[in-house]
């Protein structure tokens, strides 16, 4: 039997819309195809209409899970453009929130992986403990999802002794629990049977397809911006880069759990060594003309923002490359020759954040089925020019 199964745009395994078209032979996948563009919001265009400060809050909304990653990546770039150096205390607090966010994102992912494999108990346990770090984030920033901690030149909120003590306490609990999850994730026979040897991506393939983040690290590629190109505080902290050579979903689970343990280490160091001083430096209203590429290691991998300034109070161009986008080509390779049962696991193993990666829209003609990729500027021009034979407003009908 040769089928084409549509996974998505609406499917219980997907938390956001994307279309995976699988050609299967019985239970085995022979070909995979990924279609994007269901969640395009035109954020890059919006950024050109807002000033440098407003854009912090806009970039924060690119993603819900890694909101701090996008905002920090943007702010790093703008600080470089404005030639300001944030005070040490501000940087420590900023990257403390980064690591807390990584902890919450990885715990969330562990739960999702459990759920996709039908291991709901694992899901319930990890998400219970994710609440610890969510509460800490709320304690530090006042918000659970969009922390709004960043300001150009530092952060907006300071840490006091009580908050520091609470963070250390939370990390101690989480470390104990994570070690337990490592035992389960790497040893529970029915779970390991599902993830070991599934979604293979060799080291050569990972390099050739430009995989990033835990996906690349699970294939034995030591690729992490925090180590390769240490920004801000990361060269002052003692931590290890985690890799795994198993190249499968099991390796991705192991890498993420071990990264959790490394993050706890970093958070404790940052809290203990928090320097005295200001938390924010004064920033000018507009930077000099120029351009910058900002790199940041988000929980899902390397996140880059390209920012171009023309000397006004608004950016000329903001280009976002989210880590999920970099992992899509690798996903297609991983999916081939797998079982139908492996689709949700393999796809979830890249920790996809679909709306992060939506930068272009594919337009499909309703009549001919012809597909065209259209850029935002083009789309805008088309929306303004009404065709002469268009029906009067209010009487518009779908073309099919």
């Amino acid at each position: 039997m040769n089928f084409k199964i549509p996974i998505g745009p609406q499917h219980p395994a997907l938390k956001e819309p994307i279309s995976l078209r699988m050609t299967v032979e019985g239970e085995v996948i022979t070909d995979a195809d990924i279609r994007l563009g269901y969640n395009h919001r035109g954020l890059e265009k919006l950024a050109e209409d807002r000033n440098w400060v407003q854009n912090i809050y806009l970039t924060e909304r690119i993603c819900g899970i890694c909101s701090h990653s996008h905002a920090t990546c943007y702010v790093q770039g703008v600080e470089k453009l404005m030639e300001i150096v944030p005070p040490k205390r501000g940087l420590y607090i900023r990257y403390l929130v980064s690591e807390l966010e990584r902890v919450h994102s990885h715990l969330l992912w562990l739960g999702v992986a459990g759920h996709e494999a039908g291991f709901d108990s694992f899901f319930m346990y990890t998400w219970r403990d994710r609440e610890i770090v969510m509460d800490l984030l709320e304690l530090v920033s006042g918000n659970r999802v969009h922390y709004a901690m960043n300001a150009i030149g530092g952060v907006r909120r300071d840490l006091d002794e009580g908050q520091k003590a609470k963070i250390l306490e939370g990390m101690a609990t989480l470390r104990k629990r994570s070690e337990y999850y490592f035992q389960i994730g790497a040893n529970e026979p029915s779970f390991v049977a599902r993830i070991a040897g599934v979604g293979m991506l060799t080291k050569e393939q990972a390099v050739a397809l430009c995989a990033v983040g835990p996906v690349a690290r699970a294939s034995g590629v030591a690729r992490d911006v925090r180590k390769e190109d240490p920004y801000a505080v990361y060269d002052e902290l003692e931590w290890d880069l985690v890799t795994s050579d198993s190249c499968d979903v099991l390796g991705r689970v192991v890498v993420r759990v071990k990264e959790l343990l490394e993050s706890y280490k970093m958070i404790e160091q940052m809290v203990r060594r928090l320097p005295e001083g200001d938390i924010v430096a004064k920033a000018p209203r507009r930077p000099k003309p120029g351009e910058v590429l900002s790199r940041y290691e988000a929980p899902r991998g390397e996140n880059t923002h390209f920012i171009q300034s023309n000397g006004t109070d608004k950016p000329e161009r903001l280009k976002v490359r989210a880590p999920t986008l970099a992992n899509y080509p690798a996903t297609v390779v991983m999916l081939r020759k797998g079982f139908i049962a492996d689709i949700p696991l393999i796809f979830a193993a890249i920790d996809p954040c679909i709306c992060c990666a939506e930068r272009a829209v594919t337009l499909v003609d309703g009549r001919s089925g012809e597909e065209t990729v259209v850029r935002m500027s083009d789309l805008r021009r088309r929306s303004l020019a009404r065709p002469a034979n268009a029906p009067a407003k209010g009487k518009a009908a779908w073309p099919f």
């Binding site: 395994a13 039908g118 779970f191």
Partner: protein, 323 residues
């Protein structure tokens, strides 16, 4: 009078009304145990401790819109849920708890009823496959194929393990098997291995984790039930609840010494023993992750079937040398 009695027997106790009440209670028990093992509360709101939640769910589903796909085989699609419920309810009548003396058997106890019971428990699987196939949905079709593939795995170990206590008791009648073990409780230990195999096979038959492959929602959406909604889905869910009661009742009758002690005490034993089996099933459900269809088949034929044969051998040896 006799006619009225038979009607009461079929409709009220132990017929449909009682089965409905007890199977929803068992679903609640299963959900509660599952939730507590996952550090959740489970149902709390409807009724005391949420005990009425499955009933509320049932009636809510009954009131929902019922959609039949254009391309479906309408006759089969519509009749199968009712057929499934009828089959498992009939199987429930054969449980040896409703007739209280093996000396004066009621008409539902006869030599060979254990075979009829196993047969009636196999039918829902075929009904599921037909339901999936007749709805013509792609996900249902894959689910249906998975139902049948699994059936070839777990059915043989289940039969072998359930029949070996019967061989030891030298009877094909559930009431007599139970009575045999009530007289010699120590012999129940001989069948321990068979009990383990049977619990795992029943878990697969009921399509619960780690064998919830035919309706794995993250893979094939609703699986066999993708196109079912409203009343029909409610009845299918009830069918699974009743099947849970029947299967656990069968295991309790065969492996746990049945339900002696007359009307009241026998009923108490029935409740305690079925809940014990359901507790074991919930435990497995909470502690495992869903496995792949090829892993089910190899588990069934490489582990469960040999273990069931070992059980059979042990039974024959015990019967030959000790009895």
């Amino acid at each position: 009078m006799a006619v009225l009695k038979t009607f009461l027997y079929l409709l009220v106790y132990p017929g449909l009304v009682f089965l409905f009440a007890y199977s929803t209670f068992c679903e609640w028990f299963d959900r509660k145990v599952y939730a507590r093992l996952q550090n959740r509360m489970g149902p709390t709101h409807t009724g005391r401790f949420g005990v009425l939640q499955p009933i509320a769910d049932f009636f809510k589903l009954m009131a929902k819109e019922d959609i039949v796909p254009e391309a479906a085989d309408k006759g089969l699609f519509n009749i199968l849920p009712a057929f499934g419920l009828a089959v498992v309810s009939t199987a429930a009548l054969l449980l040896p708890v409703w007739h209280f003396s093996p000396v004066v058997p009621s008409w539902t106890s006869f030599s060979g009823d254990i075979i009829v019971m196993l047969y009636l428990l196999s039918l829902p699987t075929l009904i599921l496959f037909l339901a999936a196939w007749s709805s013509t949905n792609l996900f249902s079709t894959i689910g249906g194929a998975r139902v049948l593939t699994m059936l070839f795995g777990y059915e043989v170990p289940l039969f072998l393990s359930v029949l070996s206590p019967a061989i030891l008791a030298n009877s094909w009648r559930l009431a007599e098997i139970a009575a045999f073990y009530q007289a010699r409780p120590l012999l129940l230990l001989v069948n321990l291995l068979g009990f383990v195999v049977a619990v795992i096979a029943v878990q697969a038959k009921l399509e619960r984790c780690p064998f919830d492959i035919p309706d794995a929602e993250t893979e094939i959406v609703g699986g066999t039930f993708t196109e079912y909604s409203g009343k029909k889905l409610a009845i299918f869910r009830l069918t699974f609840d009743v099947e849970l009661v029947v299967a656990s009742g069968l295991l309790a009758a065969v492996f746990l010494g049945g339900f002696p002690g007359g009307v009241l005490l026998g009923f108490v034993q029935f409740v305690v023993k079925t809940l014990f089996v359901i507790f074991l099933l919930s435990l497995i459900r909470a502690l495992t992750s869903r496995i792949r269809i090829d892993q089910v088949v190899s588990l069934a034929w490489k582990v469960l079937a040999p273990l069931a044969v070992v059980q059979l051998l042990a039974t024959i040896l015990v019967k030959g040398f000790l009895l």
